[in-house]
Amino acid sequence: MNEKERLLSTLGGRHADRAPFICPGGMMNMAVTELMDAAESSWPEAHSDPEKMARLTLAANRLGGIENTGVPFCMTVEAEAMGAQVSLGSRGNEPRVTEYAIGRLDEIARLRPIDPGKGRAKVCADAIRILKKEAPETPVIANLTGPVSLASSLIDPLVFYKGLITDSQKAHKLMELVTENLIRFGDALAEAGADVICIADPSASGEILGKKAFAEFAIPYINILVNYFREEHGIPSIVHICGDVRCLGSLLSEIASESISVDAMVSINTLKELAPAKVSMGNVSTYLLEKGAPDDITKHGERCLRIGVDILAPACGISPITPVVNIKGLSRAALEVHTPVAL
């Protein structure tokens, strides 16, 4: 099986020869400075140049043993296209929003629609086209900023969170607009050849929103996205939920994606209990990945696989100063433990 067949089979709930080891990109960062040197493609330039973007993610695949490629390397492409000011950061720091696009929920008319033919949205689609040519057997993951996280990149999160209670109709209007735009951007990435969609929504953890607001403001919009990409493009989705998902309980299983990825504090057994029908993904501590010895990382990865994780992956974005030998340590666990995917 090649990397693409293995990941797509696993996400489809079909038999695979072993569990894949992936690191999607986006919030779930895969780029480290050592790879930037090897690929001669460094942040921040790689955020706005399709050649460099493709080269850096390919280096993660070829040198780090990560069994996918993925774009972009941040969560700011959509917000910038819609009107937020963004700093692209530095070699060791990811891009971030420096100025929100709007100040109040009733200003959403001022938000611009994402134009996938322009700016860094186009860079991402172009990078995917390069990756499809360069590495046709490696799955390309298109990373979308989760709807709540995008909304709270366009308006101050404090204003947004309060609005969920005090002005819920307008908050829903913003969520609808954000979701439409994510579809527009996702369409372009899917048409460029993306094989999998990954949505990470760190601003929508159960610990921040609570169960009720998570059910009202996170799940419906995430589900519109994943159902759309499945039905319109035949593409499966991974949804990463930050924080302790135990406070969401059985709500977790209402997320319509094929796979759910969780943070390091959640055990894979808990994930399987709460969302038994989902392909489980996770959840090696990125702190261990950065600081641990390669052998310990391999052992930890093997433990995750023996518990039955379906896709081995870091529990969050990896730190840009993580040594490549550590990433390869995790890759080794996937190569050595041949547990067939059991669903």
């Binding site: 720091n93 209670i165 929103l209 406070c247 969050c316």
Partner: protein
């Protein structure tokens, strides 16, 4: 007709923790009009309500949106009452410097801790987010802060917390400032490892840790 002090205080408290800012504003204006003590109204009305909201947050009945709305109501009431404080009301408060360490812009957790510290009667100096590490030390020296609170949500910026502690050591003022750390990837084990004085896993916990550290200093 003037209502009893206790009835108005109850409105202030309920208004804060039931997220009813209009009720708070009405009751605060009533305190002023009746000539009741503004300091008493802030402490036994508004702050008591915020502390109740903190209890609900601790019990996972309230979450971030609720706590933010409660704090807006509290601050709206404080705005009205503050001009009516008497000269002798300003007690010496414990001073705190708080911020999100450099490289990280996630400040929701830090904001919650700030709100609860305001409510708990600390004098809070908020440096904001993505704060250069040396600024924590400078500000703590400048205002004579007893506590430095460091927050981060990212594993990539955790080590900045250790750097702040090293800077305090280098300047020979480590013992003058207690350091409390918190945020998503932070644990008690990490706090022990870098030699922080305390760790808190949520906003209410931060107040408990702060008070217990200050009690130790006093003892």
């Amino acid at each position: 007709m003037t209502r009893e002090r206790g009835d108005i205080l109850k409105d202030l408290m309920d208004g804060v923790f039931l997220m009813n800012e209009e009720l708070v504003i009405k009751a605060a204006n009533e305190i002023v009009a009746a000539g009741y003590d503004a300091y008493d109204a802030i402490n036994n009305g508004l702050i008591a309500g915020m502390n109740q909201a903190g209890v609900l947050f601790d019990k996972e009945e309230y979450f971030v949106p609720e706590l933010l709305i409660c704090s807006d109501a509290m601050y709206a009431g404080i705005e009205i009452l503050r001009p009516h404080l008497k000269v002798g009301d300003a007690r010496v408060k414990h001073k705190v410097v708080i911020g999100v360490v450099e490289g990280d812009t996630h400040d929701i957790g830090k904001n919650l801790v700030k709100i609860m510290m305001d409510a708990a009667g600390f004098e809070v100096h908020d440096l904001g987010r993505n704060v250069p590490l040396a600024s924590f030390v400078e500000k703590a020296k400048e205002v004579g802060a007893e506590l430095i609170c460091l927050s981060t949500l990212m594993t990539t910026t955790m080590d900045g917390m250790a750097t702040v502690i090293e800077m305090l050591k280098e300047e020979g003022i480590r013992d003058a400032h207690k350091v409390i750390i918190g945020g998503g990837p932070i644990s008690q084990a990490f706090a022990n490892k870098i030699g922080a004085d305390g760790y808190a896993d949520n906003a209410a916990g931060a107040i408990r840790v702060a008070n217990s550290l200050l009690a130790k200093v006093a003892a």
